[in-house]
Amino acid sequence: MLKTFKIGGVHPEPNKISAGKKIVTAALPKQAVFPLSQHIGAPAVPCVQRGDTVLVGTRIADPVGFVSAAIHSSVSGKVAKIDTVVDTSGFRKPAIFIDVEGDKWESDIDRSDTLILQCTISQQEIFDRIKNAGIVGLGGACFPTHVKLMPPKDCKIDTLIINAAECEPFLTADHRLMLEYPDQIIVGIRIMLKALGIEYAVIGIEENKPDAIALMRAKTSMVSGIEVVPLKMKYPQGGEKQLIEAVTGRRVPPPPALPASVGCVVQNIGTVFAVYEAVQKRKPLIERIVTVTGKSVQNPSNLKVRLGTPISQLIEAAGGLPEDTSKIVSGGPMMGRPLLGTDVPVVKGTSGILMIPESDAVRHKERTCIRCGKCITACPMGLEPYLLAVASEMEDWERAEENWIMSCIECGCCQSTCPSRRPLLDWVRLAKNRVNDIIRARNTKI
């Protein structure tokens, strides 16, 4: 019996078209754009000026405060301007533009392919290197990794969970990463274990990736303290709380409790690889794997992309924009955000580019709620989405808060399962925003 989380969840079509495609390095862009807000927390502040020359790996923006992350240039060239750009969030935000000239790297970065197994540096040094490399959670939420590796003092951590579930349909970036860089991942996990001062890590992989499960099992059989756990296919298995429940059977209490309160730290497999590169090769977060896919895409692929590359270039590399495309989504079909154009740059959290054909992108007409309760069955957090949506519509923020709206992980199960096609998630997001503001105001008053 395979493990999974207990309540809720849906089973969307996996559509992992690009699973068999090897990772290809994408061409350098002509101009790279780095939005200053690529992570959760305070936006970074530029530390370069117009006209400055930068190399690959040069830090171009400093973090502000503890929950923030540095940004490094992924290209060499001149800073063209610091202006605004429409990013993946769908809003215009400040960004640094760099005109690319050649491909010169910072001298301390090790660009060779040799695997460095030994990690002799201290815990604090690992922490500093991760922080200086500007690493954030690459699963999509972009929470600064160094913050996650420093759990609150009163929480006793015993398990590091590596999230390789990749439950979003279409996306295959993590899958390919495991198949092509398994050794680096194992070293990365050991570095993280050292940073946390614990001895036990679990890699959670969904059953639809048997080759990755077999490979990771073979690689971990010689290493003590790392276990591979195959999981039953169910969305949203890759949600932090769902994964903790699936792997350990523990349930994270509602917010403001953190996963650390049940002794777990969850890290995405892409983050693990980035940590390996940052600690062993001194390479900051300047590249990531992006799945470019879609049902009518000519050549769905997994690309190793320098951050800041415009998405239009990735689409070109995957065989061009299919004619019937009506929506381009950054991320997967369940949690991704539709893009406003193809000039949007790749950021740290861009796990995939999905081109949805017209026939699939239709939003059906909204009808009245028939109280069937399907959304309640589907909600992996055990909430009542229909009730939250109504409370939001009535602007009854108090009621929304009482009904645990802040526990919502915005996975979209409710909306995808609603037979009346109600925009439940839209309403819940609105109420969540408002309730969050109210809670913050309340806390600052006291």
């Binding site: 605004t84 429409v86 154009g341 839209d426």
Partner: protein, 298 residues
């Protein structure tokens, strides 16, 4: 015969006793209400719009009677005559407020502001504003989902199907300010009605730099500052690439209108000086028709 008489007698006596009890109780526990509150509620519009800052008309009426002075108490939805009547009832002077009207500061019609995207989420402005920058290149302008129309209690604001923008019916608008609060983009503003309902305002809220704003919308304020220079009354300020006309200082000279290269300054209800589309007349007619047609369709 006898049973009927007994029944009538018994019921009659019970009724009499209960009647006396009710009378005594009503007398003993009577709540002293100020008759003036009732009188004021009678003459108020009864829309419970909240424009006065109090929860509904009854609360306003009570405040009128109970508070020491009428300072800060004003029903924006009532005419000044009604306020005078209230003053007569309470016996205290009311503060005269300059009449205001809601003004939509966006002219991004389909022609002026080409659509570059299609938003298909829940059709509410609050949600659209939260999820995306919008269907056009302008991330400040009207989203066109009509939250302002939904909240208006006076049927004074309608979407114009041709331009996709809301338009205010100046006759019906009471300046209660509900639409101002409902608009997530802060486009709607309450401005002085002035003499003959004449108004001059910048019909744009775009804070982007000139080239970006201009690319997004043909009539966007590009923050060139020409109007600021030409204004003799210091009424225009330029902040974040956006000009704003202070209606307290503006003397309605219309100099800025000729100066604006983007035609983003609007003059309403002036006699035709040159070809300026006056908002009011043009607007109200087609909207009314379309509303009636909608009703018929439904």
């Amino acid at each position: 015969m006898l049973p009927i008489l007994t029944a009538i007698l018994v019921l009659g006596v019970i009724g009499l006793i209960l009647g006396i009890v009710l009378y005594v109780v009503a007398r003993k526990f009577a709540v002293d209400t100020d008759p003036r509150v009732e009188q004021i509620i009678e003459i108020l519009p009864g829309a419970n719009c909240g424009g006065c800052g109090l929860p509904g008309c009854a609360a306003f009426a009570e405040a009128c009677v109970k508070r020491d002075s009428m300072e800060g108490l004003n029903c924006p939805a009532s005419s000044s005559e009604v306020m005078q009547q209230i003053a007569a009832i309470t016996g205290r002077a009311v503060q005269e407020l300059t009449p205001k009207v809601a003004v939509v500061r966006c002219n991004g019609s389909c022609e002026n502001r080409p659509r570059v995207n299609n938003y298909d989420g829940a059709s509410r402005c609050v949600i659209a504003a939260m999820q995306t920058g919008g269907e056009t290149g302008c991330f400040y302008g009207c989203l066109g989902c009509g939250d302002c129309v939904t909240v208006c209690r006076f049927d004074a604001i309608h979407m114009n199907p041709e331009t996709g923008l809301p338009e205010v019916d100046q006759e019906k608008c009471t300046a209660c300010g509900v639409c101002v609060k409902a608009c997530p983009r802060g486009i709607i503003e309450l401005r002085n009605k002035n003499k003959l309902d004449r108004r001059i305002y910048v019909s744009c809220v775009n804070k982007d730099k000139g080239p970006v704003a201009k690319k997004a919308c043909a009539v966007a304020c590009i923050g060139c500052g020409k109007c600021v220079k030409v204004c003799s009354f210091d009424a225009i300020t330029l902040e974040n690439n956006l000009a704003y006309i202070d209606f307290e200082k503006c003397r309605l000279c219309r100099k800025c209108i000729d100066e604006c290269p983007q035609n983003s300054i609007w003059a309403v209800n002036f006699p035709p000086k040159r070809v300026v589309t006056p908002a009011a007349e043009k607007i109200i007619e087609p909207v009314k028709e379309s509303v009636e047609q909608d009703k018929q369709d439904n």
